[in-house]
Amino acid sequence: MKLAGTIRPQGLWALVDHLTGQGVRVVAPTLIDGLCQFGPVDSADQVVKDYLLPQNTFKEFLFPKEERVFTWLKREDGSFVVDQPSRDFPETVILGGRPCDAAAIGVSLRSVFSGDKFEHADPLFLERFERTTVVSVSCDRPDLSCFCTTMGLGPDDPTGSDVLITATGLDGELVVEVGSPKGEKFAQRLGSHLVTGQPETELRERRSQAGAEARKKFVRVFDIEHVKSFLDNPDNFDDEMFARLGTKCVSCGVCTFECPTCHCFDFKDLGGTEGGERVKVWDSCQFPVFTVHATGHQPRPDQWQRYRNRFLCKFKIYEDVFDNLGCTGCGRCVRDCPVHVDITSYAMQANKKQQLIQVTP
């Protein structure tokens, strides 16, 4: 990332107002139903200033919860018309995302929908992505559920962000770093609010110090070095830990809907005999009906088998199939699971079991 300069908070809010005034959609942490969530804002005063992590992720602005994929109509003469909705996606700035979200959505989720590995590029995601600038804000502290450092990232990690803003604690100073052409454009829009020309060494020093201070505060830190080898061994698929840890799951799907790397969806065909539409909607592998065949055959009849699939997906399948991290440690699933199913306990136990195997000759 390139050091672009510094701004004060007022400069950032002024830019937000300027952007919304220009018709750019600004998505930022805001209060929705009393909860801090990512949502479109009309002005800077709707942005929540003191927050840790919004409850939802901003993936819904790139991969909507519901999206009409096509409509169809049967005309009187019996002919058919199939229409695609126009893809006139608004220019969007995601302001205030955290590094865990940026890495998960900007890199991992994007790799699912891109055509990079398997040729099938999804323009619905990619075209939205092209018009979206991700402006992340480094965290100054984690909470007890956060574990991004364990996943190889960090509270000030730039992966997936076009712009990264870090508070140094010095008089409200915010350091602005830029990591892409979209980021450059955003920095330019800051105009005179962006102060440049400060002594770079000291600035860099303050900037890394802020990141290091935040890193020290992590409590949920554990070893995952051996987790993938544990999961790569097909014999471990039937390990007792899956049933023990996963039976309590109530398949509410909150983990899936709040997870920034989860991408499962379903198609719903709505309408009647004369016209209708197909809608792409979010789905979850935790729901029982997810894998049921038309014949009634159910490959994952028990709830713990479905959570096993989730764990496998985040810590093995995502990497094997999409070459990217399946989990960035945002902690939402840990924080918000109503029965406290804890994916980190799966990881810790898998790691421990694998270590024991390797130590015992």
């Binding site: 929908f113 065909d269 789905d283 014949t295 399948i317």
Partner: protein, 298 residues
């Protein structure tokens, strides 16, 4: 009637890969009381001209207003002007599809998935073993093989069903029985044979084990030169693979198609994975050895 159209709204240049193309049902062949073959042609000649596929691939077939279903493309890619799919009435979508008439329009997305390795089959002795509605993915390959019969060694087909009324592709089987360069063995489960039945009576794996080794010995080059292709209910394929194993045809010489619930068919909806294998991307055609290495998540 003005031609059915597929519009692309302004600004939507890149293909939205979830939108089907329109195909017309050219002909319906009632294979059995609950199994139909559909012959389909593209409504738009431009789509027809640019459509190619490889043997064994599958497609997503949309019944507008009802849903989408996954079927193998059961025709040979060298047939011109149309392609086929074959389905059994099991659920909401297939029941609606079974009610459609010739001339009706449905949607098609595809082709998806991998295909049979025809070059790798050259010179090999081929064993086809399939049951009931498992036969279509085998049928397209048989047709393709017969188009270049001299490139392959011995060819044996064992096709079974519960009763003779459940055997699909009756017409093809009669043709193949008349050919001298392939062995067409049809069989029904014990008790499923009518009077004057001219085929075998017994389960597919049993008949396979009784008849095939002798044919391979006489006309083929031994078990190591054989490739087997099987498709059908898991209980049948399990015993077929075991029988083949006993004949010296190992799991890496057995090719099968895996069925899993699919939606997007392009590796994004997360539904069809077995462990780290997305069936729609890397399959549905796998060797038995590959399937045996997959976790028990299917």
């Amino acid at each position: 009637m003005s031609a059915p159209a597929l519009h692309t709204a302004p600004g939507a240049e890149a293909a939205n890969l979830y939108v089907p193309k329109l195909v017309r049902i050219r002909k319906i062949i009632r294979e059995t009381h609950d199994v139909n073959t559909l012959q389909l042609e593209f409504v738009d000649p431009a789509h027809a001209a640019s459509f190619t596929y490889k043997t064994g691939q599958f497609g997503e077939f949309s019944i507008f207003g009802v849903g989408e279903a996954t079927f193998n493309i059961s025709s040979s890619p060298n047939w011109e002007g149309f392609f086929e799919c074959c389905f059994r009435k099991v659920g909401v979508v297939t029941t609606a599809l079974a009610k459609m008439k010739e001339g009706d329009i449905i949607g098609f997305r595809g082709p998806y998935g991998n295909s049979y390795d025809l070059e790798g089959m050259h010179g090999k002795d081929l064993i086809f073993a399939a049951g009931g509605i498992g036969f279509p993915p085998i049928r397209c390959l048989v047709h393709r093989v017969l188009e270049e019969r001299d490139k392959f060694g011995a060819v044996v087909i064992v096709h079974g069903a519960r009763t003779h009324r459940d055997l699909v592709y009756q017409r093809e089987m009669d043709e193949w029985t008349r050919r001298r360069d392939i062995h067409m063995i049809k069989t029904v489960d014990p008790g499923g044979d009518p009077e004057n039945w001219d085929g075998e009576v017994g389960f597919v794996p049993t008949v396979l084990e009784e008849r095939v080794p002798w044919i391979l010995e006489r006309e083929g080059k031994g078990a190591s030169n054989a490739l087997a292709f099987t498709c059908g209910p898991p209980v049948m394929t399990k015993f077929v693979i075991a029988a083949l194993g006993r004949m010296g045809v190992g799991p890496d010489q057995v090719v099968m198609t895996l069925e899993n619930k699919m939606k997007c068919a392009v590796g994004k909806c997360g539904r069809c994975n077995i462990g780290n294998t997305y069936v729609c991307l890397e399959g549905p055609i796998f060797t038995a050895a590959q399937v045996q290495a997959m976790p028990a998540d299917q």
